[in-house]
């Protein structure tokens, strides 16, 4: 590639690049605005998501919801918790 080509390529890349960044972020602004508008509308009728995440499937485990055990599965090691629960249970029993 000779020097002149380098200059053209550089100029091309500058314009194309800056242009594409603007195109992309403009599309993103539009898409984001539409998404926010749609979600806001949707949430007015349906309600918001809980900020601490969705609890585990409730089909069967439904009425234990009050004790919130399902929530634990998703982000904590469950077995140690169960283990601890067993230990606690035994200890209480002993007393």
């Amino acid at each position: 590639m000779d020097d002149y080509n380098l200059l053209t390529d550089g100029l091309n890349l500058m314009m194309l690049g800056m242009g594409f960044v603007f195109v992309f972020l403009t599309v993103l602004v539009l898409a984001t605005s539409i998404m926010s508008w749609a979600i806001t509308k949707y949430e007015k009728s349906v309600g918001k998501l809980p900020e601490e995440g969705i609890p585990a499937p409730t089909a069967v485990l439904a009425h234990s919801k009050l004790e919130k055990p399902a929530r634990l599965t998703s982000d904590q090691p469950i077995i140690p918790i169960l283990t601890a629960a067993i230990h606690k249970y035994r200890r209480n029993k002993k007393n």
Binding site: L7, D9, L28, V29, T32, E52
Partner: protein
């Protein structure tokens, strides 16, 4: 006796070359700046130490078989380390302020002008015969203006691996210098009245928006610019893990031990590229000079775009938040806040500047994708 001679000939004192001594001194200077001056210490401590280790004569720590060379090959050449860092940064990023005011994405777009102007400058210097940069070199130098370490390292490792050391050092050093570089430009381009503009309170952003945004961004990237997909994909993945709230234990590890471990290895590996041969030449001077131009132009472009938006938009926009579009998260946003407080001590801009600040990260990654697509 012969063996004693061998020991002496194996010492560093016998073998050291001037270049290595200078590079060790430069490594020590980076450590000094990191520790004493608090210049981005999380990166510059490992980079500086890596530079010292790499230049110990006869030890070969940065040569094939050595630990730092292994880190470089496994983590940088493959692109894995910058991508994992991006995942961690994603898991630490809150898109709330951006979603509350999506127009600030334009500020993040404008500030990328620093990248492309610098690229043009490098090409011009090359055309004038002052330097000898290829198109890839020029693109990699321009990316310093992304004000984003992992993006700069990712692009440089693909387009100009031999300049990687200097580019990474320039990027982190100037990011640390943001509180010195930006204010004069910000003061010059804004009036006292503009700096006093108070912005409206941000609306509340719902969890559902925060969960869907990284997926939306991912889909747009997938369809419009696949070359930016690795960077923005990992960024969105980290952010989704954080926001979805059902994989908190993964998100916590990503934000802590995983990103810390990768940061140590990345820093050492980048430091190992600070060789005398590739660093001690006029090219590095060129990179350092062009790099600061990139920061300055990006800052100015962001502010000017903010002034334009302020004219167009119904809601008032303080031009000071434009400079935060260069990224340099969160330093640039804090500088915006600082100058806002200087003009009016009840004018808190921090939350408003976080929008362009993370928009700058997205804009830089998009710019990186274009450079990689175009050059390679």
């Amino acid at each position: 006796m012969e063996k004693f001679l061998q020991l002496w000939e194996n010492t560093g004192l016998y073998q050291i070359e001037l270049g290595q001594a200078v590079m060790i001194a430069i490594g020590m200077l980076l450590l000094y700046l990191a520790i004493k001056k608090n210049f981005e210490p999380l990166l510059l401590v490992p980079i500086g130490f890596g530079a010292v280790l790499a230049n110990i004569p006869a030890a070969g720590i940065a040569e094939p078989g050595g630990l730092l060379h292994m880190m470089y090959t496994i983590g940088i050449e493959s692109g894995a380390f910058p991508l994992l860092i991006f995942m961690g940064v994603g898991a630490m990023t809150d898109f709330g302020p951006l979603l509350a005011n999506p127009k600030t994405l334009f500020l993040g777009a404008a500030a990328q002008f620093g990248i492309f102007a610098t690229l043009g400058g490098a090409i011009l210097l090359s055309y004038l015969g002052i330097f000898d940069f290829s198109l890839g070199d020029a693109a990699a130098i321009g990316i310093i203006g992304s004000a984003d370490g992992p993006t700069a390292i990712y692009v440089a490792s693909k387009l100009a691996p031999e300049l990687l050391g200097a580019i990474a050092v320039a990027a982190y050093a100037y990011m640390a210098l943001v509180p010195l570089i930006q204010p004069p430009i910000m003061r010059a381009l804004t009036t006292e009245a503009e700096r006093k503009i108070r912005m409206h309170q941000q609306r509340h952003v719902s969890q559902r928006e925060k969960i869907l945004f990284p997926l939306l961004l991912l889909v747009l990237v997938a369809f419009l610019l696949p070359d930016a997909a690795p960077l923005l994909g990992m960024f969105c993945f980290g952010n989704l893990m954080k926001e979805c709230a059902v994989v908190d234990r993964l998100s916590n590890t990503t934000q802590n031990s995983l990103i810390n471990t990768v940061t140590i290895f990345l820093g050492l590996a980048v430091g190992s590229r600070l060789h005398a041969e590739s660093f001690l030449n006029s090219t590095t001077l060129g990179i350092l000079s062009l790099g600061i131009v990139a920061f300055a132009v990006g800052t100015a472009a962001g502010i000017i775009m903010a002034k334009i938006l302020n004219k167009i938009s119904k809601e008032p926009i303080n031009p000071l938040i434009g400079s935060a579009g260069v990224s340099a998260v969160p330093m640039a946003a804090r500088v915006s806040n600082k100058l806002g407080l200087e003009a009016d001590k009840h004018n808190f801009l921090l939350m408003h500047a976080m929008g362009p600040n993370v928009a700058g990260v997205i804009g830089s990654a998009v710019a990186a994708g274009i450079l990689i697509n175009f050059v390679s």
